[in-house]
Assembly symmetry: C2
Homo-oligomer: 467 residues x 2
Amino acid sequence: MPVPGPGYSITVRVEAPPSASAAGDLTSAIGQVGGVITAFDVVESHALTIVVDITCNATSADHARVITEALEALPGVAVRKVSDRTFLIHLGGKLEVTPKVALKNRDDLSRAYTPGVARICEAIAKNPADARRLTIKRNTVAVVTDGSAVLGLGNLGPAAALPVMEGKAALFKKFADVDAWPVCLDTQDTEEIIRTVQLIAPVYGGINLEDIAAPRCFEIEARLRELLDIPVFHDDQHGTAIVVVGALRNALRVVGKDIADCRIVVCGVGAAGSAIIRLLLTSSPKDILGVDSRGIVHIDREPLDNNLRWVAEHTNADGMTGTLHDALVGADVFVGVSAPNLFGADQVATMAPNAVVFALANPDPEVDPIDAQKHAAVVATGRSDYPNQINNVLAFPGVFRGLLDAGATNITDAMLLAAADAIADVVAPDQLNASFIVPSVFDPTVATAVADAVRRVAASDTGHGGT
Amino acid sequence: MPVPGPGYSITVRVEAPPSASAAGDLTSAIGQVGGVITAFDVVESHALTIVVDITCNATSADHARVITEALEALPGVAVRKVSDRTFLIHLGGKLEVTPKVALKNRDDLSRAYTPGVARICEAIAKNPADARRLTIKRNTVAVVTDGSAVLGLGNLGPAAALPVMEGKAALFKKFADVDAWPVCLDTQDTEEIIRTVQLIAPVYGGINLEDIAAPRCFEIEARLRELLDIPVFHDDQHGTAIVVVGALRNALRVVGKDIADCRIVVCGVGAAGSAIIRLLLTSSPKDILGVDSRGIVHIDREPLDNNLRWVAEHTNADGMTGTLHDALVGADVFVGVSAPNLFGADQVATMAPNAVVFALANPDPEVDPIDAQKHAAVVATGRSDYPNQINNVLAFPGVFRGLLDAGATNITDAMLLAAADAIADVVAPDQLNASFIVPSVFDPTVATAVADAVRRVAASDTGHGGT
């Protein structure tokens, strides 16, 4: 059963009798139906009645209704209004565009706008590189989606994807002072997406692709990297790969294994899975097995699209066939970016001793982490309610901070690896253990460490390379 | 000779002897070469030397150099550094994207981002109209350009246009709390511009076209109005037309004329001129003459493109031919949106008694306003250093505030006229005179009045109509 969380938090305004027992009745009524009260605020008090805002976490819309009904069933209690706090904070959107310059008087206006701005325009026309110095380009990233793979929800389209892109932009600002802007495209045609991003690029110092379905996302990313002189990063691929590789580095430290001796199973070979495989390969593990819903990927399996063919050609040295369960036997590491509840404790028991399990499917992992812990030495998930949350927010803000500060024109594997190492190294040797292989997403040193690492690689680069 | 203004303001850091006479020498040296000192700040003081930041207005880069050299020529004075204040305020760009939601802890993250945001996405997927309630769409406008007609500078391209679009976005926020975002397109192909704006539209509640060359701008605007369910406004056309019509309404009050009795000469029939003519026609003036570099527009003049043909068909009832000077004879009103120094006091003298002259070419008007004042009753320009500045900033912030608040899906002539009337009516009858026909651009009541007027029309509209 899901646990009530702040993602589903409601505030119920009720009228109730002013007695102490009545207040107790309210809280116990909510507790009895499984709601978790986080605040109890009396907003009005009269001789015969009080008005209270009770804020509590629920598990779902149905659960919220059950809570409301439990309150209404109490004698003398009337529910005035139920507010969904998650909806409340989204009202009117989550971003604003604010001027960094004063516009208080005529002099301000003459400098920031006409006539003064004309000289800035002329300077950039003469020397286009000045755009990075004299405009928002130096600190601004486009968060681009076509709405085809929104979170785990699927193809919701561009308008419904906007709340996620706004949230992403808010995280960019909060964690790395990057100005990010949502670009939600009303097309799912590969060529149109590529062309549109190319046409809007002059304003941006980097492109963050987001929630674009595979295999379209591979071609869009590859082609844009060719076409643009600014870095193109697909967070679902590269952000995930960075955090997984960083976390794995620390997990292997905990279990005392060298990646060169490890057999790694990567379950899910879409955008995230294949990017994880690509980045893992740079560290030369003993072998990788890619697994999807049709089982282990191998070179003789038909049909293979471009992505699966690449995976087949670069993994599974022994040409193994079979199911996910077959793949797990003797494996040192499992990395799942696929679907919920694919295996249990029994399968984890078949893995090599001191196994590492990253079960990252959201919201429900490939294996229940409590079950996995029975046999694995290190377990991580994508969830915030277990230890070792593998969360892209550890990577993307710092990566773009570094890229923008370096004025980077592209992004290389060396930068992704440096970012992974930086995340791993934020966990000090004396902090490192099976329950703490990645830093907290709120650790303010992470983005700085990642940015420094990326900037150093960018500075030492020739400026060319690719992932 | 141009007057030193804050659009060209420099700060010169000098070392000088600490004597009182030395300070006097500094200021008089600048005054002798025509610089206007606005600040004198001692930043360091030692026994034998002081370091001073002298801020002064110049007319040009050459003039700034002359000022610097005049300082260096003084005995014991060394110039350490010259900073151009206009460039300084543009460093790093003029906008930032800031979150409106707290992201301080796990609960914030769970509501603003995953997992809570998923419910917002699903709500919008189910009911697309909710995008205006739950995303930035409700308050956000795209400021779209292809960089083909940047200010009076011409075709500088998208990167060099960005400082203007940033300034525009800053004005939107400052004057009407509208979040505006620069969209600088790396194409000047009409079809590509239309398609790109269509594809990025889901994020926006309105489109402000800006600095796009005629005649391309007409087709882009017309087609986008057909394609999109949000209002499309071309500021160079409609913003200018609103302010001109509002100002003319008050100018005619000052001279006691009815527009039905007025012959109006509109010089320049590109984007701004033809939009002015279209909006003026709704008030049924006696006649309008359109004039361009080839003289008076009439139906037998060849060649006529679509725009000129429309002008020829709707103006010049008597089929007049000839030059601008011919057109001015007996005219009641001159509106110029064309080129500098096209006529002088002698031509103004040929106009009807109590003539109104709006000479809006920037930075140098069609007629010197001092010359025009010799014979005209009311004179206005686009400049900030004469009375009656006709400035689009009086219109566009309030127009979009009203459109967004109404959730308008299009923009109509009735809205443009209501905006023009609102601007005119901000000048109270007891304030109205020949030197005050439009409110100050810093009058905070203007945007509110314009927004109210536009919103009222939008609310009473069927939601259909066009300009």
